[in-house]
Amino acid sequence: MVFFLILYIHILACLLWVCFNIEKTWIPAVDFIYAKTALFEEEFLKQYLSMCYHAIMVFGLNEVAPRAVPEILVVILMMIISAMMNAFIFGEMAVLVQEMDKKDIEF
């Protein structure tokens, strides 16, 4: 389950980068006060980790401030899917924990 969570976040991060990279008008929340961002010229690791962070934001239905129309559409869609994944993954985790408790009680 944790593995699927990580894989989902990874794929979501890459998808967000694809759609933010089209227009390059998106600004991450840390750079709001400058109203411009140097993220698109940064090195790979910085870009990827930033996108992972924002993917987790989308997964938790937080603010990522999309600007252009395609970005808004993608983020809306991914938020709806994320809400379902949230329920699915954490529901499954709850069941697993319950099973473990049962096994402990037996002995």
Partner: protein, 155 residues
């Protein structure tokens, strides 16, 4: 026809054998690796997709998955209604194509983007990039994990 199909054939690998188990394991490892690297290539592709180690990894992954499709035709399956293990090649092929994952396997494994490049699309153009998304279907092979876990629980 059924009676003939149950007889064990030397060139057909049993679905319950160790060989198949190890092969499933290898395919799952490559499915995980591919599930991580493919989104990275689509999103950040211009930064590392032309490195030699990445090209080698890409071709190894593709050949493993093509071998997996071929292996699907040489692996027996268990008939759900009768519980018999079927070894007839004809019936294996029919089962794999109609009830198995043959179509998804083909769509995910076949390097469509390379074909598009061969027909004149740009190597790093948007057409070839977006065709790579089909490769994400390879992740569905992870469903075999549940089969392997079931195997481990039995023993």
């Amino acid at each position: 026809m059924l009676d003939a199909a149950i007889v064990r054939q030397p060139h057909i690998v049993s679905a319950r054998s160790n060989v198949r188990f190890v092969w499933d394991f290898i395919v799952i490892i490559f499915a995980v690796v591919n599930g991580v690297t493919l989104p990275l290539e689509i999103a950040f592709g211009d930064q590392f997709s032309n490195e030699p180690w990445y090209r080698v990894l890409d071709w190894i992954t593709i050949s493993v998955f093509i071998l997996d499709v071929i292996a699907g035709f040489f692996t027996s399956y268990v008939n759900i209604s009768s519980g018999d293990e079927i070894f007839g090649m004809r019936m294996i092929a029919i089962n794999y194509i109609t009830e198995g994952t043959f179509l998804i396997d083909i769509a995910s494994t076949f390097p469509i983007d390379q074909l598009a490049v061969a027909f004149g699309a740009e190597q790093d153009g948007s057409v070839a990039q977006s065709l790579k998304i089909f490769g994400l279907l390879k992740i569905q092979r992870l469903r075999r994990i549940s089969k392997i876990i079931g195997n481990m629980n039995q023993t």
